[in-house]
Symmetry: C14
Subunit: 96 residues, 14 copies
């Protein structure tokens, strides 16, 4: 296996696993927060506005960790600095 | 194993595992939120509208992490930049 | 092992594991939601319609992640782009 | 190991594991739903009809994920497209 | 290892693991349902008939996933299509 | 390692693991059901007959999954179709 | 490693693991049932006879899965059909 | 590694692991039963005799699975039929 | 595999896993804190300001551990000191 | 590696792991029993004698499984029958 | 693989895993403490000052373990004594 | 690797793991017992003497399993019978 | 790989994992203690001084195990006796 | 790899893992005990002295298992009898 193949294979696997593993925590976390918000609304309907606002801020915070993983996966697929380097090195060397 | 075979095999495995692992968190998370919403409706039927609206927004947020995984899996199967590169490289070299 | 064998073996394993792993989350999730719906109906029979409607929407959302996995498994078995490519490459080369 | 042996061995293992792993989630999920339905009937006997109807719909939804796994296992054993291809390729080549 | 040995060994292992793993979920699931039914009978003796009937339907649904696994294990041991093929291929070739 | 040794070794390991793994679920499941039955009898002594009868039916259902595993283990040890084949093949070939 | 050594080593390991793994489920299950029986006696002393009788029947059912494992372990150690075959084959061949 | 070394090494490892793994279940199980008995005595001191008698019968049943493991471990160390065979075979062959 | 390929492959894998694993803890942690805050607001609406302020400080503390992981992942992808060294060493040596 | 080294290394590892793994169950089990006894004494001080006596009998039963593991570990270190055999075999052969 | 490559690859992997694994405990721990603080404020608003002060001290203690991990990761990336040594050794030897 | 190195390496690893694994159970177990004792004292201060005495006896029993592990670890480090044998064998042979 | 590289690589990995694994327990433990202290203050504000003092002593005890791990990690990175030895041995030998 | 390198590498890894794994149990255990003590003080302030005294004795007992691990780790790093032996053997042999 030459360098280009290794870099490509590793990037594919890592991109997939990063977003797959990285989606477990946020999905469960957002569910917990949302479930609690629904319970809170049922118990205290008068505070629905405050609860909803706090819920959305919290969901944004939790979603941010999923975004981190998605960003890293996209970087690995479409803006991978190591891939760029080996492609250019292969062009320079006139072969792979 | 040549480069094309490796890239293809790795893409297949990663696409499958990404959506498989990535569906566990959202499925359980959406279930938790929906279960809580049903309980909330039963306890406070008068707030069914508010609860349902908050539920749908939350489900959309949680579903988004599953969508991320599905998008990555589809990219790996049908718009894989590394696969495109090795295919073109093979054509250029006149063989694989 | 030549390229065709590897692609075929990897596709078989991935298709099976994808739907196997991907069915755990939705099955448990739908069960949780349905169980809560049954409890809610028992507690608040007058809201059975609202509860049932919300239940079906939620089950559809959760089932969607299982559908994603089933779609990917079917694509790997019957519309696998990598398999198509190596088969055609083998035909072109006049042998495998 | 030639291609036919690999494809056959991989198909056997995958078929078995797919239905084995895929039966855990639905079995536990259906049990949870049914247990809750029994409890609901005991608490609210007058709603037994509504509860039973909702239970059967839910069991059908959950059983569907087990059916997906069973279908994939049966496809791998009796309608495996990759096995068909290698068998025909072996016949064409006049040997295995 | 020739093809016949591999197919046989893989079939044995897969048959055993399929029924072993596949019996965990249904056993625990049926236990949960039955335990809940016993509790429901104790709480609401007058509904014993409805509860028992719902219990048996549920046990049948859950047992079905164990049956799937048992069927696959029996197919692998006694009606294995891949084993049939390699045996016939060995007879045709006049040796193994 | 020749074919006979492999088949024998694999059969031994699989038979042991099948019954070992397969006994965990039924043992825990029967315990749960029986424990609940004892609690139900203590709460509702007048229904002891109904409870005991339902308990025995449920135990039989759960024990069935353990029986499946035991049957497969016994088949692998004493009526193994693959072992029969390789023994006869060895006799025919006049050696092992 | 010749066939006799492999069969012997595999039989030893499998016998040990079978009874070791197979004792976890029954031990925990019997404990759960017995603990519940003790609690039931404390709550309803007048039903001690019924409870004790049901307890012993249940313990016998649960112990049966441990017996299955013990039987398989003893068969592997002292009545192993595969060991018998290879020993006789070795005697016939006049060497091992 | 010759046959004697393999048999000896495998027997040592298996004997240790069998009793080690096999002691987890009974230890936890006996603890659960005994803890419940102590609680029952505290709640219903007048039934101390019945509770203690049932406790001892239950402990004996649970301890039996630990005894199975200990018996197998002792057999492997001091009455190992496979070890006996290879030792005698080595003496007969006049060497190892 | 030469040094450049190894460093690149290891950096890709580590960057992905770092952010993937590192997002589980913060996502679940922030969810727990936010869920409790929502419950607290529902119970004590008059203290919503104090609760919200404490919530945001806590979320910032928890998010900091996710930031640590993201920083390390970005350093590995775009400011990797080991990658810089081997690239310069390769330039100096006039080849890789 | 000659036979003596293998036997010694395997004995050391097994002795350590046996007592290490085997101490988890009894330690947790005795803790559970003792904790329950303390709670029982606090609830029913008049029965302290009965409780303490039952506690000590139970602790002795649970400790017995730890003793089994310790005995096996000591046998492996200081009265290992396999070690004795290979040492004597080495002396007889005048070398190892 | 020469020494420099090994040291670099090992440092990268270890730095990433250290901060990734090391962020799980503190994130969950801080969340638990903060959640409890929010609950305490809701129950006892008059003690908000004492609670907040104790919360911040506790968060600092817990964050310290995350800091330890971050420090070790940064040392491995930017002040690695082993890397320094091998770089200097390579310079001295005039080659790698 | 010669015999001395293997024995030494194996002894080091086993000694460390034995005490590391063996400290988990007793630490958690003693904590549980002590926590319950503190709760019991708070509930029934008049029985503090009986509770404390029972606590210390229980802690001694639980600590004994940790002592077993520590003894085995010390034996492996400082009184290892296998190490003694290979050292003397090496001296006798005048070399290793 | 020569000795220096192995020692360095092993030291890096061990230092990172030691502090990473070693921070999980203390972080969770301190969180539990602090959470309980906050709850205690909310329930019994008059005892805040006693509670806070006991909290700090307990946190110091728990932090001590994290300190042990950090000390070992620092020793491995900056005062590693084995590294010192091999460096000096390499200097003495005038080469590695 | 010569003997000295192996012993050194194994000692480093074992020392780190021993203290890392060994700190989990005591940290969680001390936290549980301390949390319960804080709760006990809040419930029964008048018994604070007895509770605190019992707490410190218990913490000392639990800390002892962490001390065992730390002692073994320090012995492996600074007073390793196997390292001493191989160093002296290397000096005697005038080489490694």
């Amino acid at each position: 296996m030459d360098a280009i193949t290794i870099i490509a294979a590793v990037s594919i696997v890592t991109a997939g696993l990063t977003i797959a593993i990285g989606s477990i925590g946020p999905a469960l976390g957002e569910a917990r927060t949302a479930a609690q918000a629904l319970q809170a609304i049922a118990h205290q309907p008068d505070e629905a506005n405050t609860i909803t606002r706090t819920l959305f801020v919290s969901l944004a915070m939790i979603e941010s960790t999923a975004i981190y993983c998605f960003v890293v996966a996209m970087i690995l697929l479409f803006a991978n600095p190591f891939w760029t380097w080996v492609i250019e090195a292969a062009k320079t060397a006139g072969g792979n």
